[in-house]
Amino acid sequence: MKSFRKKIAAVMVVTAMITHEASAFCGFYVSKADGTLKNKTSQVIIVHDGNRSVVTMYNDFKGDMKDFAMVVPVPVVLKRNDIKVVDQQIFKLLNEYSQPRLVEYYDENPCYLRYDDSDKKEKAPMASMLEGKVSGLSVQRADLGVKIEAKYLVGEYDILLLSAKESSGLKTWLTENGYKIPEAANEVLQPYINSNMKFFVVKVNEKELKKLSGNFLRPIQISFNSPKFMLPIRLGMANADGDQDMIVYAFTKKGRIESTNYRNVELPTGKKIPLFVQNNFSNFYSNLFQHQWDREGKAVTMLEYAWDVSPKNYMKCDPCVATAPSTQDLLQSGVFWLNQNTDYDPQNLDDDNSNDLVYSDNVYFSRLHIRYNRNSFPQDLMFQETSNTENYQARYIITHPATGDLNCVGGKKYLSDLKQRRREEMQQLVSLTGKGYSDWDVVTNNDEEKFIPAENSYNEAAIANNKIEKRQHGILFATLGVMGLISLVGFRQRRKKPM
């Protein structure tokens, strides 16, 4: 294998995550219309240091924008300055920068010394982010133990901060004001009320909406001081059945974030996979994710990316699939300890002290992908910041075969190595995704493959692997059979002896 000289020719990414249809944040969408809304993939940026958190929720609402409404439990009553709307581009940027990547290598033809490859291609990622939907309301107060702690107009949103004494009161209040609350929400509203959480209630202000040029709702960013470093996913499960996905982009000073109440798993990375996966990387990745998630027992958070993205750190990925977030992007994401005026501010940095802010230029980025459902995730997601600074990226490798005449001594050796490698790649594919050989469409690029004999093709590799597997099964059964026979004979003899 080492004899192949490889080089990175191009890097290709395909958005793999956002495959589900509608979506929501950790709160739930409430609907006036009777259709049941499903929360599927949501995206959230969390910036955390000491007791301060900045949370940005991507608004992927799909439907008539004026019908949008959302309820999110928050630990404190937010002030006007703690709420703002940000450009939704930031999510696209972070997603593209940190998503799982497919890396291409090209084998060099061993029969030539140098082979110039002008065929560098770069495929643009296609991101399909969708918007969710629903409701409208008029604000009225009834004596239901519900108190409007604050009321703001921020961007295109009317925002209320509610505190409540009882879930039934809160539920009635929300229903009376035009929010459609799922039945199952009761079971979680009460614990939140008991935990002294407030409710951040959002709806769209139609007047302001008209002033907007684009036809999308902007992400809402909230900041607060609280020791609670968590995401309330329980409420979001109230009106969803089945699995939901959430991508968490986290920025911290020291190192990775991890969940403290669920196991944290790194997805397998750096694996060599068959070339044909490039036609359908997104499908490959969603199969891989599902398979690994099942294997790890579901109640886990999956790490997809972790890197030091401090403005001073030069290398922010290897290889990079998109531009790394700039200082401006980080500031927009809510990284509040970055000093925007000076590039370098070496004074440090010990955690904490929510109010007197210590500037620092350390920023560590973690991207977690969580697939959750009611059964596997009985608790909200709690996080902690760790000192773990090990870089990580979910990265998969495809290798293009050498082109040109391979009829030389080195070429023959290359072909036999290639055969072996492709078999291994096929095995890797099966073990990563849990899908058999027959589940994959082996589409070959004829231009590329024309120099490679048919016996070295992926199809042949799959057939060979199948045979090996069958043979292994055969050996296994044979061994079991022999063992069975031996034990049978053994028992008989033993039974005979006492007689």
Binding site: P191, P227, K254, S259, Y262, R263, V265, V300, Q379, Q384
Partner: protein, 288 residues
């Protein structure tokens, strides 16, 4: 058949079970922090050998009564605790943890007892000093089988050294408080609570760390009071202050109270060798 200082010291079981947990982590949970494991074990053994040799004023043999049993054994349990609990970025941080662990065994001593649980002290001091290490309370997941396994295996270990009282007092108090808070006060459904208590970290602490007879009070009543107080304080900080891994911090912080409790409740201090009585009596019976 069996010698006086039988190799079937209960600590063998303890190391064995710790090894089983580590293997569970490595084979089922894909832990792969090999550098940390190797450095922790070698580092602890090396430091302990050197310190014990200096203390005795001679180079100690590798095996036998004056060898492994003297310098290797007890530190092995601490080394395994470091492997199971601590995570580090760099090998030298792991080495610092070993050094601090061994240091606490020799420096903070009161009579025949340690003031701090060596590995708990090593972990907490490393976290504070280096800022390069961390604990992962979620590392075990909430696998019910593991819950069962740790409880059962832990019980065996603890009963062998006659200190089930500490573990039970701690675990029952902590779990009881969690139940009260999560179910009665906050009103979460039952699976919320079950998820909290099936974390391996809590059980591992209850059965392998707080139960250390060298660092817990000698008198049974004192031990129970002490274990319950650790549970109550740890619960307070985790439930109301949102701090994680509180038991281990509280265990270290509360250690200085143990000598005071020992003064009030006098009792014979614990000796590891006394627990081998069980095996020895068997050998006597056989001889007869």
């Amino acid at each position: 058949m069996f010698k006086e200082n039988s190799p079937f010291d209960p600590r063998y079981f303890q190391v064995l079970f710790q090894l089983i947990f580590l293997c569970y982590g490595i084979f089922f949970l894909q832990w792969n922090d090999w550098t940390h494991y190797i450095i922790s074990i070698i580092g602890c053994l090396l430091f302990n050998y050197l310190t014990e040799s200096i203390k005795q004023g001679k180079m100690l043999p590798a095996f036998g009564k004056q060898g492994w049993n003297l310098w290797g054994f007890s530190v092995m349990i601490s080394a395994m605790s470091l492997c199971l609990l601590l995570k580090t970025n760099h090998w030298y941080t792991s080495l610092v943890a070993c050094f601090l662990t061994v240091l606490s065994k020799y420096i903070f001593r009161i009579g025949k007892k340690h003031l701090f649980n060596p590995s708990a002290f090593g972990i907490v001091a490393t976290l504070l000093i280096t800022k390069d290490a961390w604990l992962s309370p979620g590392q075990w997941g909430s696998n019910a089988i593991l819950f069962f396994l740790i409880s059962v295996l832990g019980t065996i270990v603890v009963t062998r050294v006659q200190k089930l009282d500490t573990s039970l007092a701690f675990s029952l108090t902590f779990i009881g408080l969690l139940y009260w808070r999560q179910i009665f006060v906050l009103g979460w459904p039952l699976d919320y609570f079950i998820h909290s208590i099936s974390s391996g970290s809590l059980l591992l602490f209850g059965f392998f760390m707080i139960s250390d007879p060298k660092t817990s009070p000698n008198h049974r009543v004192a031990r129970i009071i002490w274990a319950m107080s650790v549970a109550i304080i740890a619960f307070y900080f985790s439930a109301f202050k949102w701090i994680y891994n509180t038991p281990i911090w509280i265990l270290v912080a509360a250690a200085p109270i143990v000598p005071i409790l020992d003064r009030f409740f006098s009792s014979k201090p614990f000796e590891w060798s006394s627990s081998t009585v069980y095996i020895r009596s068997i050998s006597k019976i056989k001889k007869e």
